[in-house]
Each structure stands twice: as C-alpha cells, then as structure tokens.
Symmetry: C2
Subunit: 280 residues, 2 copies
C-alpha cells in the first residue's frame, strides 16, 4: 500500500504517474502493486537519492521519476525498476513513457519481466510486454518449452493481435529485438485522429487484462517458481544478465537522458542506476 514504510517517500511520487491518462495510470499502479504485494517482504526499501527519485530538466519541459528496489540476497529477486518520463514536445503535445521491469538473480534461471508503454500522442501507443529469457533458447529447447510453450504465453499475444488497431512493432534497436522472447508482445496501437476514448478503452479492456495475466504468470512461475541452478550455470547466468543490463540501459537511457534532461542530470541518474546494478 502507499503507506508501506519500507517503500520510502519517493515511491509516492513515482506511483502518482501524474502525466498519463486514468486507464494508463491504473494499469501501472496495479502492476507495481501486484509485484510489491507479492514480493514486498523480499524487497529492500528504495534508497535512491531524492534528486534521482524525481528529476526534471532546466526549463521544466521534462519530468521523470525512478523507483528501484533491490531484492534480499536470500530471495530470487535481483531488483525491480519502475520509471516514468514526461517530455513536452516542441511541436506541442507530449511524450510519456512508463515502464516496470523485474530482474531475477542467479539463484534461478527463470525469465525476467518487462513492460513499457510509450505514448507519443493521445492516439498512439507502443507496448512492449514480455518475459525476457535468461538463456539462449536455441540451445535450450526444454527451457523454451517450460516457460513459453507450456505456459501458453503466445495466447496473450494472439488476443491482442486480433484488435484492428494493433500492428506488430519492430524496435529500431536490433539488440532489443534479440533480448525479448518469441512470445513477446511488441505492438504499436494507433486509433483514428481524435479517438482518444478508443485508445483508453483499448488500454483498459485489452492491454490491462493481458498485462496482469502475464505478470501473474511471471510471479507464479518465475519469481516464486522453484528452479535448480548449478555452480557453472550461475556463472553463465551472471555474465549474460550483466551484458543485458548494461546494453539495455545504454540503449534505453544512454542517449535519451542527455537529450531530454541535459548532461548533468543524465550523469547523476545514470550513475545512480549503474551503482545499483553493480552492487547487486
């Protein structure tokens, strides 16, 4: 809940999602709450500096919040990372990005969780929703079977695909295309000009139930599932996880943060994230 003393004061600002629509905010708040309710006792309080929990650019056209909670060493959780970014476009309108990712540690080889909503206008949404695998699926068909075939994860992608406004989305980053699973939901949704109501309806009636189904699956089968991992496999997972985290942050934030918030703010925020990732 919002009163959870473990969560730290910055959580409230993060959980406000002040610039997005009600259905968009409701979805993000529900997902963060599902994770923190189920895994809360395994998560350390957020202890990011206040000027990283919430930051803005000099002329006040860009605002953002960051929420990171590390898992206890005895848990399966490496850390969870939530964020929102609001950026007023020079052309009018605004870009809003909200995301939640959860990384597991090397006590398990189960997949991570990732959701990102990129709203570049009221009638346009890019959705990324996936359980990114932690092993090379080509070499490990049994892992593919357990987490992706047996779980029938592709059904969720197929459900969304049926909506007429939904189109497959190809990330401009080839690395991001590689990181996701074969059941990843990577779609762009565009409603007719002026039909913001239809976009909100799609988020509420379709995106939201699918995202909750996927995160529920992740909580049950991945974060709380039992997996045996040997010594040499731990080393492999540790190395692969490290490359993913480094590359993903480089691609997601490395060029965007300096562009939106200036070099000084970007260095502060990236430094804080980097320290979190290296320490864990």
């Amino acid at each position: 809940s919002h009163m959870d003393p473990q969560s730290g004061g910055g959580r409230n600002k993060f959980m406000e999602f002040p610039y997005v629509s009600d259905p968009h905010r409701d979805l993000m708040v529900e997902l963060v709450s599902m994770v923190e309710t189920r895994l809360g006792s395994y998560l350390l309080p957020s202890n990011l500096p206040p000027d990283v929990q919430y930051y803005q650019n000099q002329n006040g056209t860009a605002h953002a919040s960051l929420h990171i909670r590390s898992g206890l060493k005895s848990s399966t959780i490496d850390f969870i990372l939530g964020s929102w970014i609001h950026f007023e476009l020079p052309s009018g309108g605004a870009l809003n990005i909200t995301s939640l990712s959860a990384y597991l540690n090397t006590s398990t080889d189960a997949p991570n969780f990732l959701i990102e909503l990129i709203r570049s206008s009221p009638t346009s949404l890019v959705l990324i929703l996936d359980l990114p695998p932690r092993k090379d699926l080509v070499l490990h068909p049994e892992y593919l079977h357990t987490f992706y075939e047996d779980s029938q994860l592709d059904k969720q992608r197929q459900l969304l695909e049926k909506i007429p406004e939904v189109r497959p989305y190809f990330s401009s980053s080839l690395y991001i295309r590689c990181v996701v699973s074969p059941t990843a939901i990577l779609v762009s949704i565009d409603t007719e000009a002026g039909r913001t109501d239809r976009m909100e309806e799609i988020i509420q009636d379709h995106v939201s139930p699918i995202a909750k189904e996927v995160i529920g699956m992740w909580l049950d089968r991945c974060a709380c599932g039992e997996r045996e991992v040997g010594e040499s496999e731990r080393a492999y997972l540790g190395k692969r996880d490290q490359v993913i985290k480094r590359k993903t942050i480089e691609i997601d934030l490395g060029s965007n943060l300096p562009r939106l918030f200036g070099e000084e703010v970007a260095a502060r925020v990236l430094g804080a994230i980097q320290r979190k990732l290296d320490k864990v």
Copy 2:
C-alpha cells in the same frame, strides 16, 4: 550449370521446380546457381539415393525432390540443402514449398543461410529469408554488430515491409521464431482474389532482388569471410548447430512428411537426411 558432372543426375530433377510459376522457379534456380557457382569447388556431388532425390506418395497427389551437397572438410561449408514439395489439396488447388538452406561448419562462426517460399494458393505466399545466427546474440553484441547492424541487413526487411500486400508472419513454432535473426524476413503476402499476376510481379520485382542481395551478402561475408574460431568455441558451435539441425528437421519434416507421403516414404527420406547430418 545443369551439365556439371559433380552435381549428379538428381540435380536436374531438383532444378526443374516443375510445379511453381516462372518467377518463383527463376528465383530458386538463380539462388541455387549463385551458391553452386561460387562454392561449387568446395562441394561434394549429391549422392542421395534416387528415391530420396525424387519421391512421391502412393496415389500420386504429393511429389517432392531433395538435393543435398556436403562441403569439403577443408571448406567452411557443412552442407547445402535444397528441396521442393508439391501437394494437391483435397479442396482443390495445391500447396508448393521450395527451400534452400546452407549450413557452415565449425571452422567459422558466421551465420547460415535460409530461404523458404510456402505457396498455399496462387495469391498467397509465406516467405522466410534469413541469415540465422550461430551464437547467442544477447551474449555477443559484437557478433550482432558485425553481421546484422554493420551489414545493414534490416534495410532489406524494411524494403519489403513497404509493399501494401506484405504483413509480418509469426511461425506457429516458437522454436523457429528463436532460430532466426532480428533482421529475419518473415512475411505473408496476400494479393486480391484472382490477382495471381500481382503475386508474380511481387516475387519478380521485390522478393527476387531482395533474396539475391541477402544471399550475395551471405556468400561474401559468411561463406567466404575470414573468422577466427578457438577450440572451445568450436565445441560450442558444434553443439548449438547440432541442436538447431535436429530441432529444425523435426519441426519442418517430422510431422509433415508422414502426413503428406505416408510413413514408409517419410522414414526413407528422414533417414537419408539424418545420415547426412550425422556423418558431416
């Protein structure tokens, strides 16, 4: 050329592609010829049994040809495999599948080549065209950069994506989705009812030049490119290649051949392929 004594008699039957349209046949013949012209001196003659080079089902509604040439031990080529299948549909019409794949051996870690055209009606085509990677791209961003970013392979995918009849295609096999690269062309092309001419135009003017560009890139950068591969990496490549070959054949042919040609023919053909793969 068709007179090449190295190629064996079965090559002629294979190269006939007797059931597909002229542009479709021209494309396949050109691709096989490009590979055999460039790599011919490194390839052993096809020595499949005649009843595997060409086979049919009992009531003559299904016909197929298979063409396999192994590479010399001193080359970078493991083997090339071409095939066509023609199957008269009970509903009328026919299903035609033509494919060419080229697998490299462990003296190099460069990507393989794959093209498959699945024609389930005169106005419907599924195209798979890719250089499937031989390493986990998540763990090896430098490999991704060399073969996929630096080569600008994605431009070919983007060219095809612009054609109005082209839609992204999702293989029903999650494993096949994993095996392909992030620049893979996986599309279904559907022209209006009766517009077979438009389909042939798309194959001739768009699919064909793109496929030739991609196979040219593969010949230059992969089959004939210089790569250094250490001892331990060879073992890794060998294992990963083996899993891919086993799984791909199981998915592609394991259930289709018995269904289309009956158990006896299927066992003969699959056995011959298996012996080729195991021997190399």
